[in-house]
């Protein structure tokens, strides 16, 4: 703890702008500790899951292919690059374990339906993109697809420690910077705010 991490230094600098110097000097160790537990930036020391522990490789390949169409890559990274598949694998093996049986059933139905339509020779994940999109469009109202979609969005935006949002891909996509301390101006419209103008007949007053 002798050498504050970059995020901790940034945090303390920001705190210095907002709170009184005496307060910070009195309390900063506690605040700094709090900041390190926020799950942002370098705060998290445990490595996120990066191997499969619940889904088989074949199952994961299919889910990853679906995820890659739900939030595609391209000019900028998408769900695949965010490693959403590791989030989904982690979730179904732990906090969403209750959903695993119906999820697997849904995947089996998905593959069976795909094989019936396009032949059993190759899995969905090996199909050309246009064919994948076409099949997903057909099944986009199914509970299975909605479940995958929900997990993809969660995995994209949740903290990287859960397995997805690798390299902050999800936050970067949304335009969210990885920090827990901000100071005004926050956005375009509050930059030039001239201050609150009282209404006729009112007399705002302060302590």
């Amino acid at each position: 703890m002798e050498h504050p991490s970059p995020s901790r230094r940034k945090f303390l600098a920001a705190i210095g702008n907002l709170a009184s110097v005496s307060w910070v000097s009195m309390n900063w160790p506690q605040i700094a500790v709090a900041a390190q537990h926020m799950g942002h930036g370098t705060a998290d020391t445990s490595a996120p899951p990066a191997t499969l522990s619940t889904l088989s490789a074949a199952e994961a390949a299919e889910i990853d292919a679906i995820a890659n169409q739900i939030v595609p890559g391209g000019a900028t990274p998408g769900a695949r690059e965010a490693r959403v598949i590791y989030f989904i694998d982690n979730a179904l093996g732990s906090f969403f374990a209750a959903q695993l049986p119906s999820f697997r059933q849904g995947l089996a139905d998905f593959e069976r339906g795909y094989a019936a339509r396009h032949g059993a020779g190759k899995p969905f994940s090996a199909a050309p993109e246009a064919q994948q999109i076409s099949w997903l469009t057909e099944i986009e109202k199914t509970p299975f697809f909605m479940a995958v979609r929900r997990l993809v969005v969660l995995g994209l935006i949740a903290l990287p420690k859960y397995g997805g949002n690798h390299n902050d891909v999800g936050w970067n996509m949304l335009g969210v910077e990885d920090s827990h301390v901000w100071a005004p101006p926050f956005g375009y419209y509050d930059r030039d705010y001239a201050g609150f103008v009282p209404y006729p007949g009112t007399k705002p007053y302060t302590a």
Partner: protein, 549 residues
């Protein structure tokens, strides 16, 4: 962490059940008046560094809220239906930690207005509802609203709203810095001749009472404040109660029954400790501040031969008249980035439409605010017409920082059949009979919410929004503002507690939390709950001193 500890065999002056917005204040007031106090809290005690900026955990995995896996509830719309467990989170959600829901609130602190206390006589009766006057007036509660602002800590600009009720003092802190959503909301509303004003928030805008100013992390609602800038009981009144050396806060202690003797007096509480071992704490009096769902559940689960319908329930009103705060709003996208994930959630509020106006053809009133939500919750839904997967969905995700929300917060009418009671079959992980929720919106609540959607759209249009997405008004299936279920009143035949929060039926049993509220107010009940708690704490301490308990 704390000093004073009592043995269960000791008879303390007061047990306070619940450590939230009301419980913390009542405990502090009673302890400062010289009483020995044990605060019972279902959940754990968390230190600032234990709270995380983890939307998944706090929004989807019941991180600090009542967990449907261990504390299940059932829900139905009509008393004729069999209530079922619902998917996802519980219908009635609250924070289950020391500090209660004050730990995770958004911190919007609105006083009720004078009209809120007298709507029954001014606007009632209303078919299908029980709209009645409070037994106290705004003037009687005003000193305690002021006490909340100064003792707990609220920032704001007094006198800024032409619709503000009378006040005896300004706020102790200036308002928080405005966000882009606040600027746009103010711009649009002013163009329409309306009167938005800086939001009163229970968040420090400057250092106050040895707690720092807000660091603008952006995650208030649903989260606890790791720098203690949010005025949650766990950072404010609880430490002050403990500083008296007369108050013990007993975490992980789940009270499931109130003990009663043959004379009809409360003797203490039965609870499960952190090892799920049954314990009994003796006390001279009990104050239940467990929230609008857990308070009636506890009374109903405490039935005895002398009180077969549940404790303090001779009126039959325990658990009835459950109210949330229905409302409607819109999302709006602008040309430039707002970055609403930064900064305290709400910075501008408007009360032009606070009063119910008979000309609209329905009962209802409310306030509006400009606000934001965390990215994880936002990403789950798309506006109508926007693809929910594929490259079009990705483009939508990329627009996150350009959006804001205008939220209307409004009235819910008290309806006798809307209630919390006990499910005949379901038990929780401790074997305690679980709560059953019966709720159906009053038609006026739905009409008012839809009316609010239209007003929100007008304001965002006037502000220059590029896209406006009206929120669909669905049937209420639960809430987080849990109000009205042990209503206050002068008549023991129709209410549960008197104007000092004492139960009509049991002399040494008091209730104070959202359950005491007679009407719902306009959406931000916590300051009223805390004002009631300061008032109740003061009077209960006086009764104790005068040997009138």
């Amino acid at each position: 962490m704390q000093g004073k500890m009592y043995k269960t065999s000791e008879t303390v002056d007061f047990i306070v059940v619940g450590s939230g917005a009301a419980g913390g204040i009542v405990a502090r007031e009673l302890a400062r008046a010289g009483n020995s106090v044990v605060v019972m809290e279902q959940g754990p005690r968390m230190a600032p560094e234990d709270f995380e900026h983890d939307e998944l955990k706090y929004r989807y995995l019941s991180g600090i809220t009542n967990n449907p896996a261990t504390n299940p509830q059932t829900f139905r719309n009509d008393p004729g239906q069999t209530a079922q467990r619902t998917a996802g989170r519980n219908p009635l959600t609250y924070a289950r930690v020391v500090g209660g829901s004050s730990a995770h609130f958004n911190a919007n602190f609105w006083r009720l207005h004078e009209i809120d206390f007298i709507e029954g006589s001014r606007l009632g009766p209303i078919a299908g509802a029980s709209l009645v006057d409070w037994p106290i007036t705004y003037a009687e509660l005003e000193p305690y609203y002021t006490k909340v602002e100064w003792e707990v800590g609220v920032s704001g600009l007094a006198g800024a709203s032409p619709f503000d009720p009378p006040r005896s003092k300004p706020y102790p802190m200036p308002p928080l810095p405005v966000k882009s959503s606040g600027v746009l909301f103010e711009r649009g509303a002013r163009k329409l001749g309306l009167h938005p004003f800086p939001a009163p928030m229970a968040i420090n805008s400057v250092e106050y009472k040895n707690r720092p100013a807000c660091i603008q992390c952006g995650l208030c609602g649903g989260f606890a404040c790791e720098v203690m800038a949010k005025s949650s009981s766990v950072w404010t009144v609880i430490p002050e109660a403990e500083a008296t050396k007369r108050c013990e806060v007993r975490a992980d202690s789940y009270v499931f029954r109130i003990g009663m003797n043959r004379a009809g007096r409360a003797t203490g509480v039965h609870y499960y400790d952190r090892d799920r071992k049954e314990q009994f704490q003796n006390a001279r009096a009990v104050v239940v501040c467990a929230n609008g769902s857990e308070t009636p559940k506890l009374l109903l689960n405490s039935a005895t031969n002398a009180f077969p319908q549940g404790l303090a329930n001779s009126s039959g009103a325990v658990g009835r008249y459950l109210m949330f705060n229905k409302g409607g709003g819109v999302a709006a996208r602008f040309e430039h980035q707002l970055n609403e994930y930064k900064g305290a959630n709400v910075t501008r509020v408007m009360h032009d439409f606070y009063d119910s106006d008979p000309k609209r053809g329905f009962y209802g009133g409310g306030g509006f605010d400009a606000r934001s939500g965390g990215p994880l919750t936002w990403g789950q839904d798309v506006p109508k017409g926007t693809p929910n997967w594929g490259s079009g969905f990705k483009e939508y995700l990329e627009s996150y920082t350009y959006w804001m929300t205008v939220s209307g917060h409004g009235t819910s009418l008290a309806v006798e059949t809307n209630r919390v009671d006990i499910d005949p079959d379901l038990k929780d992980d401790w074997g305690v009979p679980a709560m059953r929720v019966t709720y159906k919106d009053h038609p006026d609540d739905v009409k008012h919410a839809q009316w609010q959607v239209e007003r929100g759209a007008e304001i965002m249009d006037a502000a220059g929004a590029k896209e406006i997405v009206p929120r669909e008004i669905g049937a209420a299936s639960g809430g987080v503002h849990l109000l009205g279920t042990c209503r206050m009143g002068n008549d023991p035949a129709t209410s549960v507690v008197d104007k000092y929060n004492r139960t009509h039926d049991v002399r040494n049993l008091f209730l104070c939390d959202g359950s005491s509220m007679v009407t719902s107010g306009r959406g931000q009940p916590t300051q009223t709950i805390e004002a009631l708690a300061f008032r109740a704490g003061e009077f209960i301490a006086k009764f104790a001193k005068a040997n009138e308990i």
